[in-house]
């Protein structure tokens, strides 16, 4: 939302002249009818002229601000169609217990809990990390409810072990979570129990954590707001004008709305409500999905999407494949939901105008997803909603044309589409044959489908320029290793993926994604001509100078427009959010 309520409708008064004219640029428009231009004119957030300065002269009025780009490269804003600033940053900003010792003894753990309780008086939850089993064994103690009760009987306590396989909770935490001997185990984990009495011991294994998380107060809105604010700040200063925050709940939507209301939501955000509670509990999911999501709506924010986890990931071999994993006789991975569940939900969400963003890493998962969308199209006709296949790590060749046929977005995450020690180790689990066709941008594009990019931070870097370069090279951006993962695409294709295809994925192709008269002024000015040099070790070093969203200057690296009275929301170097950017 901009500074004032300057909304336009059919009979709104419209000025005669441009608010701003950017001239003398090398402008890559992404409009096939007019691929290049020198100048753009902006009024009321929209482009009213794209061409050369002489053509736009008539739009210059007494109050028009003119800015000379001095030959700089200008293009539509970037689209990051899948990322998680909240998951990456909120844990850093929350004030949970951090024992701060690699392998604390039970005594050190006890002291840390008591110190935290002293510093945080009251009867609230004590939640944090880490403990390790072996120091308990060495001390001749048994970790669990009894031990924790002896340290802290009155307040609920939940502590994760360093392997993240076990959570230790006390009796108060079990009580608040409504867990006792009659509680059954979840499908993806279990409660450790006394074998003779059946009573929970206070050790929650794997997926059983979620039962405790559900009873805990959610992450505070203030923490989430800070995480999103930093995420948006980074994205604006790296030229992102539209993004999808995949996995939200009520708290997260509230945090985004607060940012929006305060004028700091400088990226267009589509937020996808979590379908499952596997990342965090989503309270009042159905109220949100059935209509309350509209409460958060603005030009910058919508929650008209839902996120599903159809299958797992490569490392634990839980991606759901069409044929068994290498060296396995029958293990194909795991589908988290039944195909019937998936189909009914896709049909239902589609009918409600809600985009389904489906995590599908294995080719079996995306096959099931495309089948479900086919059923939705059969029952509902084309609803106007393009559903999104997230990650699309492996796609069956026979499914490549179905993205176009069913109007489904293929989203690829750069976590491992180029060789790094992490990617080469982790992704090699698929086997060489599958590795050759991993993240098949080219296959989807050549079959006429819409492919987009999602950084999936913190799984991969949130820097979109790293993603852009490696889409073209599919090589390590930091060295000269000749190894290449999968099929590269051209610079032109990659730019389309990261701009106009992103707009299609947002449902905003009529208003953004290219620089054309009538579209929103969502554009960026950068420090280099992307076509001037070979992409490797060049594109990812790009610096963004200016970022505009709806004609609003949201980022101005050197405050060059401040003298013209245009003050950007963000200025200076991008914030440092990662070790290696």
């Amino acid at each position: 939302m901009a500074v004032t309520d300057n909304f336009t409708s059919t009979h709104s008064a419209v000025g005669q002249y441009a608010d701003l004219i950017l001239g003398n640029g090398r402008i890559y428009t992404q409009n096939p009818a007019q691929p290049w231009a020198e100048a753009v004119a902006i009024r009321g957030g929209k482009l009213i002229g794209v061409g050369n300065l002489a053509e736009l002269e008539s739009l210059k009025g007494p109050n028009t601000v003119s800015h000379d780009l001095d030959g700089a490269f200008c293009m539509p804003g970037l689209h990051d169609m899948h990322t998680h600033p909240d998951l990456a940053l909120a844990p850093r900003y929350s004030d949970d217990l951090d024992v701060g010792i690699e392998d604390p003894t039970p005594e050190q753990l006890r002291e840390a809990i008591l110190a935290y309780a002293d510093a945080h008086p009251g009867d609230g939850w004590i939640y944090g990390q880490y403990w390790v089993r072996y120091t308990f064994r060495e001390a001749g103690l048994t970790p669990g409810r009894e031990w924790l009760d002896s340290v802290m009987p009155d307040r609920p306590v939940a502590l994760l072990d360093r392997m993240w396989g076990t959570m230790m909770v006390n009796s108060r935490a079990l009580e608040l979570a409504g867990i006792d001997r009659s509680t059954s185990d979840p499908r993806n984990g279990y409660l450790e129990r006394d074998e003779l009495t059946g009573e929970p011991t206070g050790l929650m294994i794997d997926g059983a954590y979620a039962m405790i998380h559900a009873a805990m107060p959610p992450t505070p809105v203030s923490v989430l707001r800070r995480a999103y604010r930093d995420g948006v700040h980074f994205q604006s200063s790296r030229g992102v004008t539209a993004s999808k925050y995949v996995h939200v709940c009520e708290q997260r939507l509230q945090a985004l709305k607060e940012l929006d209301d305060s004028g700091e939501l400088t990226v267009r955000i589509e937020a996808a409500i979590s379908w499952q509670d596997d990342i965090f509990p989503v309270r009042r999911r159905w109220e949100l999905l059935s209509g309350e999501r509209h409460y958060y709506r603005s030009a910058r924010l919508n929650a008209n999407a839902v996120k599903f986890h159809f299958d797992g990931t490569v490392e634990p071999k839980s991606s759901f494949l069409l044929t068994p994993w290498p060296q396995e006789s029958s293990w194909r991975g795991k589908l988290n939901l039944t195909p019937e569940h998936i189909t009914d939900m896709v049909v239902d969400m589609d009918r409600q105008g809600i985009r389904v963003i489906a995590h599908c890493t294995g080719d079996g998962a995306s096959d099931v997803f495309l089948d479900a969308v086919a059923e939705a199209r059969r029952r509902n006709g084309f609803s106007g909603v393009r559903h999104q296949c997230a990650h699309s790590t492996l796609l069956h060749p026979g499914n490549l044309p179905r993205f176009k046929a069913l109007d489904v977005i293929a989203e690829f995450s750069p976590a491992a589409w180029y060789p790094t020690p992490f990617a080469s180790g982790a992704r090699s689990g698929y086997g060489q044959e599958r590795l050759n066709r991993i993240y098949d941008f080219k296959g989807v594009l050549e079959a006429g489908g819409t492919a987009v990019m999602g950084t999936d931070w913190p799984v991969a870097s949130i820097d979109p320029w790293l993603a852009l370069e490696t889409m073209i090279t599919r090589q390590n951006p930091w060295n000269d290793d000749p190894a290449c993962f999968g099929e590269p695409i051209s610079l032109e294709q990659a730019l389309r993926v990261i701009t106009s295809n992103g707009a299609v994925a947002m449902g905003l192709e009529k208003s953004t994604g290219s620089l054309e008269v009538g579209k929103s002024a969502d554009l960026i000015v950068i420090d280099r001509d992307l076509f001037a040099q070979a992409p490797r070790n060049y594109i990812h070093r790009t610096n963004v100078l200016l970022t505009f969203v709806e004609g609003q200057l949201v980022y101005d690296r050197h405050a060059t427009l401040a003298t013209s009275g245009l003050n950007a929301v963000w200025q200076g170097e991008p914030p440092v959010l990662e070790g290696k950017a």
């Binding site: 120091t135 396989g165 634990p316 090699s428």
Partner: protein, 311 residues
């Protein structure tokens, strides 16, 4: 013993400690019985699996990554399918990667979908006597985790260290550890194969040699009618001396007189419900202890004090 469930032995230990040697011994020793081995090699070459495959076909090899921390769901599925094999397996041996914490596998075995098919019999950690105390940083922490999770420590390559070094090691491994010293990862049958089967051939209360390592271990059978108090039994189990490696058998517990299979290995006890028929013959426990153990009377005394009505 609890014949409905497949016994699972987990073998852990640092890289180079002698796990593969031990595994080869176990595979050879189990010749003819229904044994499956799940091997997990670190690195791409998979040399270890190649060696083991020569011994038997019943080798299940996960060639990449680490069972404990990267292929857990995979392991779950693999174990579930092994549980369905006919004729039924008697034992599954799982080798942990040298750089992993066996706790992960222990937790996997307790998953509800596996619990009714298999039971963790014991975790054996092979400790390299020449290197254990030299490990540092993350390696030292991993080695500690491997030692702490173990029911039995096989202290290997003891011929390569001095008696003083051996003594330092034993102290470092802690007073509660069940330690067996070896040179080439020799593991006496009495320590890992079914204790009750061996005891069937002996008369009650008579100390007898057990197999090829008779000079090292002795076995005793305890029998009684009546019931045991649960909390007193737990306390008695916790206080078992470290010379006692195993206690296995059937107990009748508490006021409700529920029959349970008890298996105690190292310092870990497991109970599982038994049928009334199994309990008809009364309570019986088989002990495996180090040869020369002199605390039998104290043990028996302690146990009879757990009997309900024996206050």
């Amino acid at each position: 013993m609890d014949k409905q469930r497949i016994a699972v032995t987990v073998v852990s230990g640092f890289l180079g400690a002698g796990k593969t040697t031990l595994l080869n011994r176990m595979v050879r020793r189990a010749d003819g019985s229904r044994l499956a081995v799940i091997v997990n090699d670190f690195g791409e070459l998979n040399i270890d699996a190649a060696i083991v495959s020569e011994v038997t076909d019943a080798v299940y090899s996960l060639q990449n990554g680490c069972i404990c921390c990267t292929v857990q769901e995979d392991l779950l599925a693999q174990l579930a399918s092994l549980a369905q094999l006919q004729p039924r397996l008697e034992r599954i041996v799982i080798e942990c990667s040298g750089v992993s914490d066996p706790q992960r596998i222990v937790q996997t075995l307790a998953y509800p979908q596996l619990r009714s098919h298999m039971q963790l019999d014991m975790v054996i950690t092979v400790v390299d006597a020449t290197r254990h105390l030299q490990l540092d940083g993350e390696y030292a922490r991993l080695a500690r985790a491997q030692v702490a999770t173990a029911d039995l420590l096989l202290l290997n390559k003891t011929d390569l260290v001095s008696p003083e070094e051996l003594q330092t090691l034993r102290i470092a491994l802690g007073p509660n550890a069940r330690v067996h010293a070896s040179v080439q990862a020799e593991l006496p049958d009495a320590l890992w194969l079914d204790a009750e089967q061996q005891a069937h051939t002996v008369r009650p209360l008579t100390p007898v040699a057990t197999g090829d390592h008779g000079e090292m271990f002795s076995s005793r059978l305890w029998q009684a009618s009546g019931r045991l108090d649960i909390e007193r039994l737990r306390a008695w189990l916790r206080a078992l001396p470290s010379e006692v490696f195993r206690v296995k058998g059937l107990v009748v517990l508490g006021d409700n007189a529920n029959a349970h299979w008890l298996q105690h290995v190292g310092s870990r006890s497991q109970f599982s419900p038994a049928t009334g028929e199994a309990a008809a013959a009364g309570m019986r426990l088989v002990f495996i202890a180090r040869r020369g153990f002199e605390g039998w009377q104290v043990l028996e005394q302690g146990l009879s004090e757990c009997l309900l009505g024996a206050d």
